[in-house]
Symmetry: D2
C-alpha cells in the first residue's frame, strides 16, 4: 500500500465533547473515536452489544477480583438478569461474599485516603480488610450456620450443580448472583472452589464431600464445543480467564468476540495480563475476532458498560 | 475506642445499581458508597465540586500524558471555559499537540487491537505513533511555518507569558487549550518547555531566545503563597505534579483539596506515583485535606468528572 | 517520642557500591541499607535465611505465573532440593509445563523486542505463545501419550497424592519440580488443578476421575494448624497466595515470616496485589512478623535469592 | 517461511541454574537464554557492553526517579567514572539530592513494611518522605547556605554549564554525580531544572538569574547530530527520556542501541511507558537497533548491570 492510500484509510481522532447530548450510548460511541483506554472502552461496549444481538452467541463471562465486596454484586446480578451472560466462571471468594450479602450480612467501608489503616487494630476487633472494604468475622459464623443447615443429597455432584442447589436454597434477593443464576439456569463454574471460605465450611461439616471438579471441566469443554458462536468478557485474570480460554480452544471457531477489563499487563508473562492477540496463537480467540482490552479497574468500567447495554437493548 | 463503637461508626458498602435514576450526579454519589477505585472516583467528583464552590480556592491543575492526541483536548478546554481551573501546569507535548490541532492538523486513529502495528512501515510513511494514535510529520512543518511567522517582541519573557502570546495569535477554536487560557487569562506553566517540538522550532528560528523559566517558577510560588485556599487536581505525574507540589509547600495552609488520577504507583519510589499522604509529610497537602487518588486512565475519568461537574454547576 | 529521639533512631541510607567485595551475601546485606525495592530484596533474602535456619518453621511456598516456561524450573527445583520449601502450592500450568520439560519437550524463545510477533502465523504453525516463549502443540500430544499410559489405581485420591504418584512415574531429571518433590516427599497442592492442560487430558482418558480437592484443602489446613512456626514466600498472587493464606488463618500463631514477590498492586482491591499488612487483619500474618514485599518480576528476583541462600547455607 | 524452517530457527529456552559457575558475566549470559524480564536483563547487559566497546558510540543516559535518595548515587557515579555514560540527562530532584549528599547531609531509612508510616507526625518533625526514605528539612537549609555562598559570574549560562560550575565548587566525593561529571567533562542536561529545590534556592537568591534552557536544547541536538553512532539507556521515563528521544530524531542514523528500565507501561499512552518500537516510528531508534526493555525497578537492575559491565570491561 502506498503512503497516500494508507493515510487516507485512517480516521481522525475526534476531540470528545459533552454538549447537549448526554445519552450514554452516544457518549460511548463518541469515545470509540478517541484513543487510549477510553477508545477501547467505547469499542468494548459496541462489541458486547454485538455479542448480545448475535442470537447464536454463547457469552462466557470470567469474573476475578473482589467485585462483590466492592459493591458491584448488583451490577453482575443485572448483567445476568438482562441475559448478558450465558456462562459464568468466577472465584470462590466472589461466591462466598455473594452468599454473605444474600444472607443479610454486609461489607463495610474503610477509608484508605483518610484514615491511617491499622491492620493490627482491625484484627483485634475481628475485622478483616479487603483494601478499603472491611468484613467482620461474624459473617463467617453466619455462613457456617447456613452451611450446617443444608441437606446435601449428593456429595459428589459437580461444583456447578452444587452452586445451583445453593442458589435455590438462599432467600430471594435483588442483588444475589447465586440466586439469579439458579433462577435463570445460568451455570456458574468455580474451578478453584476449595480456595474459599465457603468451601472450608463445607469441608469441615461434610467429611465425605468430594464435589466433582472434572465433570465441571468437561461440561465447560462441551459448552465451548457446542457453541455456534462464542464470545467472552473477562473481568480480571486468574483462574476464570484461563478456564474460559482452555475451553474455548475446543470451540470449533474460537471466540468471535473478546473483551478483557484488567489492571494486569503482559510483560511479566503471566496469563492474567496476556493480550488477546496472544490468545489467537492458541486458537482461543479467532483471527478475525472483534477484541478490546481495557486496562482499568472493573469497578469503574462495569457500571458504564451495563448502563450502555441496558439502554441499547431497551431501544 | 471499643469494638462496638468502631464498627458502628462504619458505613455499609451499598451495592451499586443503575435503575431508573440515571442522572450522572446521583450515580457518582452512589459510587462513593462502594469500594476500590469506583468509590474514589465518586469521592473525587464531590471534592472537585467543593473546590469549585469554595470561592476562596485557587485550583492548580496538573496535566501530564498525551491527553490532546488521545482526543481530550476539548474536555480540558471545557474544564477551563467552565472556570474549573485557575492555574494550568502541563507538558510541552500537550502544548505542541494543542497548537497542531488548533492550526487545523489532526491526529489519526491506529488500532492496537486489530492491526499488527509495524513501526518501521509507519516511519517509512512519515507517521509518528503515540500508542494507538498516529501523527503525520506534516504537522511539524505546519508548526514550523506558524512559528516563523510570529513577531516575538521579547525573547526573554517567561514561558507562561509566551504561551499567552501564542494563545492570542492562534485562530479561535472550540477545543484549544492555549486559546481559552489566553481569553480567560488562565496562566499556563510549562517547566520543561524545551522538551517539546514547539520549543525546538523556536530554538531553530530565534537564535537568541531565552524564555525565563525562573520567573515562571517564582510566579508560581507567589500564586501558591497568595492562595487563601489551595486545591489541586493532578492528571498523571511527571513535572506538572512536582511543580505544583513544590509550589504548594509555600502555601501557608497547604492544599485543602487534592485529587490525583494516575496509573503510576508508589512502590518504585518516584514522585509520579507517590501517595497524597506522602505529600502531607512535605507540607504540600494539609493534614485535614480532602483527598482522593484514582488509579485509572485519565481518558476514562476526565470525561466522567467533567460531566458530573457540568451538571452540578448548572443546578 | 520527641523529634530528636525519633531522628536518632533512624539509620542512614548508605550509598550502595560494588567495590572489591563481590560476594552475593554481602551485596544483598548492603542492599538492605538502601531504599525502594532494592532494600526489600535485601531484607527478603535475610528473612528467607532466617526461615531456613528456624528449625521449627514450616515454609509454605506459593508459585503462580509461568515460571517453568520462562526457564526457572531449575531454580524452583533447587529451592526444593536444598530444603528451602516444605509445602508447595502452585498452578496447573506450572505442573503441566514441568511435566512437558521432564518428558523431554522444550519451550522455545520468541523475541518480543526484535520481531513483530504475528500470532496468526504462530497459530498456523501450531505454536502457542506465552509472552516471549513459544510452545509447540506437539508437547500436548506427548503429555496425552504419557497420561494414557498411566495406571491410576485410585481415581478419587487427593490431587496432592496424584501429583506425588506422577512424580514417581516420570524419568529422573535435574530440573523437574514434580520429581524432586516426590523424592523428598514435599507435598504439592494445586487447588485449581482442573484449570490446566494436564487435567484436560486426565479428564478425557479417565471418565470416572474425581480427584478429591476437599481432602487437599483439609490437609493443608492441618499443615498450618500443626506448624510450630509458619513462614511463607509468595511468588505472584492468584490461587496459590490465597490458598496459603486461607490455611495460615488456622495456624495458631499466624505466619512469623512472609515474603511476596509480585508485580500486582493493592489499589484495584484484588487479593493478588494485597499488602502483607492487610493479611495481618485476617490473622494470616502475625503482627510481629518479619515481612517484605518486592514489586518485581520473579524471573529476576528468584535467581538472586537462590544464589544468596545457597551461599549463606553453605557457610 | 515454512513451518519446519521457522521452528528450527528458534532457540530453546534453557533452564537457568546456578551451579559452580557464579561469575556474574556468565549468569547474565545464561539469563539471556530464558524468557520474560530476566531474559531482557541478560540482553540489556550484552547491549550495554556492545555500546561501550563501540568506540564511535555516544551513550545518552536518561535518569528519572529518586535514584539518589534510594542509595544508588554511587552506582551512577561509577557508571560515569568507568566511562559508561557520555551524556547525562536527569531531573532537578536527582541533582538536588546529589548536592545534599555531597555537602554531607544524608537520607534516612524509613520502613514501609514494619512501621505504620504517619505522614502527619513526620511533618511535625520536619521530615519529608520519599516512599521509604526520609529527608530532614535541614538538608534544604544546608543547600541554601551553599547556594548563597556561590559567586555565579554569568546568570544566563546554559543549565548544563551551571551544573558543571556547581560540580567544580563542591568538595570531592566518591559518590557525587555532579563532581564526577565535572571532572570527566560529562555534560548534565536538566530540561526541567526549575522544578526542584535547588532551583528554588537559586531563584530566591539571584533575582536576575535566567539560565538558558534553549542553548542546552540546541547543544543536545548538536550532540545527537554529530554522533557517529548513538546509544541510549533510559532509567525511568519522564523528561529525561523524552529529551533524549527528541534529540535522537536529529541523529542521522537514529539510535543503534537502546535500553530502557522502567515500571511504566504503554497502555495509557504516555511517553514514559512507550515501547522502543514506537520510538522507531519517530526515527528516534533505528529499525535495525538492538533493543531491550526491562520492566523492573532500577534499584534492582542498575547494580546488576554495573557489576556485569565492570567485570566485562576489566577482562
Amino acid at each position: 500500500m502506498n503512503d497516500k492510500d494508507f493515510k487516507e484509510k485512517l480516521k481522525k481522532v475526534k476531540q470528545f465533547k459533552i454538549d447537549n447530548n448526554e445519552r450514554i450510548v452516544d457518549l460511548m460511541e463518541q469515545l470509540s473515536n478517541t484513543g487510549f483506554n477510553a477508545k477501547r472502552l467505547g469499542r468494548a461496549c459496541k462489541i458486547y452489544e454485538e455479542m448480545i444481538l448475535d442470537d447464536d452467541c454463547t457469552i462466557f463471562f470470567g469474573l476475578a477480583g473482589a467485585i462483590v465486596p466492592a459493591g458491584f454484586q448488583g451490577i453482575i446480578h443485572d448483567f445476568i438478569e438482562s441475559g448478558f451472560i450465558d456462562v459464568l466462571v468466577t472465584t470462590g471468594a466472589n461466591i462466598t461474599h455473594d452468599l454473605a450479602e444474600t444472607l443479610g450480612y454486609h461489607h463495610l467501608q474503610g477509608d484508605i485516603d483518610v484514615d491511617e489503616i491499622n491492620d493490627v487494630q482491625l484484627h483485634d476487633q475481628n475485622i478483616n480488610r479487603i483494601y478499603d472494604v472491611f468484613l467482620p468475622n461474624e459473617v463467617y459464623e453466619g455462613i457456617e450456620d447456613f452451611i450446617s443447615s443444608l441437606d446435601i443429597k449428593n456429595l459428589e455432584m459437580p461444583v456447578s450443580e452444587f452452586l445451583k442447589f445453593l442458589g435455590e436454597q438462599i432467600p430471594d434477593n435483588k442483588n444475589s448472583i447465586l440466586k439469579v443464576c439458579a433462577k435463570k439456569n445460568i451455570p456458574i463454574f468455580c474451578p478453584a472452589f476449595t480456595d474459599c471460605g465457603l468451601a472450608l465450611q463445607l469441608g469441615f461439616h461434610y467429611k465425605n464431600i468430594n464435589l466433582n471438579h472434572f465433570k465441571d471441566m468437561l461440561k465447560m469443554v462441551d459448552l465451548a464445543w457446542d457453541a455456534k458462536v462464542a464470545g467472552t468478557c473477562l473481568v480480571g485474570g486468574g483462574v476464570p480467564k484461563n478456564f474460559i480460554f482452555q475451553s474455548l480452544q475446543f470451540c470449533p471457531n474460537s471466540a468471535k468476540y473478546a473483551i478483557q477489563i484488567t489492571m494486569d499487563r503482559p510483560e511479566q508473562g503471566g496469563l492474567s495480563g496476556a493480550t488477546l492477540k496472544e490468545a489467537m496463537s492458541w486458537g482461543k480467540v479467532a483471527h478475525s475476532a472483534q477484541t478490546a482490552t481495557i486496562i482499568a479497574d472493573a469497578t469503574i468500567v462495569l457500571p458504564i458498560m451495563y448502563w450502555y447495554l441496558k439502554k441499547v437493548i431497551e431501544n
